[in-house]
Symmetry: C2
Subunit: 358 residues, 2 copies
């Protein structure tokens, strides 16, 4: 028999991108960073003695909080370390959104958001984006009465960047909490001058999600954090997170990674350069991409062979990209920026496939 709550029995779980065993596949499907983590991360790993694992880890990851606070010029009270960015998303719902309250997300967006609202058993309102992946002009009106709004910026899966001014307007006119999911923030061109941290200092209803999975090449570590005013951070830190939500190893390595931000920045630069080059090459193949400030490109696929068939043809050649069976996305592919070698292999494979079908 099933013991599931009705909302759990009725829902579908989140489907992560394929994670093939072995090293042979070219993985351009889950937005992993093509470059290794900083040498300091390897050093921090080598410095851990397994005997240290005998004891519980520092419960609030205090050294990481201090390091992140310094990086962002905020206080440790503004930082909540989490077991991946996903935990922060869950904690915000658990802590702030009652079952009869509403969460607003843009459509399309990160497909985990509706899964989390289904688990929480709260109301979900999906607001379609307009042409160019922009929020509709009446977005603030659509937020009326909602408790939480989650916006991913740069947007996934398009890579479109919203201006901080737009986010400020949303937060200012909103009686609930604005969660800005900045999983891909590190790949924004520096000349865009994007910086949402002032919102956290100005407003008590803004929380920013950061993760070490993409920008710091540590998807395998599961480490993210929230940045927000203490009224948002404190109840998650002291009440709703699991008592020891981050382990000793991940605390040590995440701290080392943030202290080596200059190393990570070199990788961000390389990804940006590759993004520009890859977008041009894809356009030449008849696959124009949305302007992306992220480490992936969302590109159109010619009617022949179509996106689903192209996804499969690439997979047959050992190259994984992401196809979403969702309204507005079915004729596109999302391609993570890989290393130069991986990107070249992709272009070669596309030439071969598209050449043989055109």
């Amino acid at each position: 028999m099933t013991f599931e709550r009705p909302n759990i029995a009725a829902m579908q779980g989140y489907t992560p991108g394929e994670q093939p065993a072995g090293d042979k596949a070219i993985k351009l499907n889950t937005n992993e960073n093509p470059y290794p983590p900083a040498p300091a991360v390897a050093e921090a790993l080598a410095a851990v003695h397994s005997e240290e694992l005998r004891r519980y880890p520092p419960p609030t990851a205090s050294e990481f909080r201090q390091t992140a606070a310094e990086l962002h010029a905020v206080e440790p009270e503004n930082i909540l370390p989490t077991n991946g960015g996903d935990e922060l998303l869950r904690l915000v719902l658990t802590t702030f959104v009652d079952p009869d309250e509403t969460v607003v997300v843009a459509e399309p967006s990160y497909s985990l958001y509706p899964v989390l609202t289904a688990i929480q058993g709260c109301q979900l309102k999906q607001v379609p984006l307009e042409q160019g992946w922009n929020l509709p002009g009446n977005f603030s009106e659509q937020l009326q009465g909602a408790k939480l709004c989650i916006l991913v910026n740069p947007h996934a899966p398009s890579g479109h960047l919203m201006a901080v001014e737009v986010l400020r307007e949303v937060a200012n006119s909103f009686g609930g909490i604005l969660l800005i999911d900045e999983a891909y923030v590190d790949f924004i061109d520096p000349d865009k001058g994007y910086d949402s941290l002032p919102l956290v200092r100005e407003l008590d209803n803004v929380i920013i999600l950061r993760t070490l999975s993409k920008g710091y090449s540590l998807a395998g570590l599961r480490f993210g954090y929230g940045i927000g005013s203490p009224n948002l951070i404190a109840p998650m830190l002291s009440k709703t997170r699991d008592s020891y939500n981050t382990d000793l190893l991940s605390q040590r390595l995440a701290t080392a990674a943030l202290k080596s931000v200059d190393h990570a920045r070199q990788g961000w630069d390389r990804v940006r350069a590759s993004r520009k080059k890859l977008a041009a090459e894809l356009a030449q193949l008849g696959m124009p991409c949305e302007p992306s400030q992220s480490n992936f490109l969302l590109c159109q696929v010619p009617h022949k062979p179509g996106a689903k068939a192209l996804y499969q043809a690439l997979k047959d050649k050992g190259i994984l990209v992401r196809w979403f069976d969702l309204e507005g996305l079915r004729e596109r592919l999302r391609i993570s920026i890989g290393s130069e070698e991986e990107n070249s292999a992709l272009i070669d494979a596309l030439r071969e496939i598209l050449g043989s079908t055109s």
Copy 2:
């Protein structure tokens, strides 16, 4: 302003035992294992290349599931790996207990349980244990209409062991789920013949919690798992847990630890021998202990100086034990079994303190 849900605003968080920085304190307060993890764990740690962390971890920790299934003679479908045992407790509530449903726990018990029911916003019924830390005779009647019953066995904080037959009777007559929290199971005397695994094979409403924190000396790693029938495991695995709830490092090290169970067993034997010796020494000092099948002792404290004062006097000497400001526990101390050296230091300190107050 606060944005917290009413149930969150009204609740208090869980208070973990003190985790002092530095290595000087003798920590007998959080039931950590005094012996290091297996050499194979150190080897697994040394074998990880930081570059591997670039990619997401295996989402369902399949190798760990296989290893745990073999150890317990069940199928991988019966195993749910979690970020510490605490995550399993949370997931069971999230997945199976609606806000209008009731969770039954024994009183006293692990103080995290009421915190988790407060977060879930469901009903909590605490059933007082009888003399000798046994369930009352009408316990099954008291479960009527409840959705979940959580029993820790061996019991915390007394160390009392319930027979499998009692658990079977509870589960058999219960329309909800019985969660048996076996955090301390590894320290049971083998001659007790305790084995609750048959319950999982016989019944579809039993889930067993295991952790690597105590028996495998890996509290810092945050790794636990549930063992239950697929109708209980599947919805937590595919719907309610965070997409990548356990990281690559912890999966590798936890798998190595379980494969080295024979090494861990040597530590369990040593803890059992120390437990017997320490209990005798404490009794000689006028601090008789409950018969314990765990890696801690709950001992009575003479009226003079009283448990709270003794806790503080030990702390002043650099020895941490646990005092609970709870009904029925205020005149006792819970003392984790340490290494022989730590236990001797404790006895010496107690002799000095009690000698000077008697």
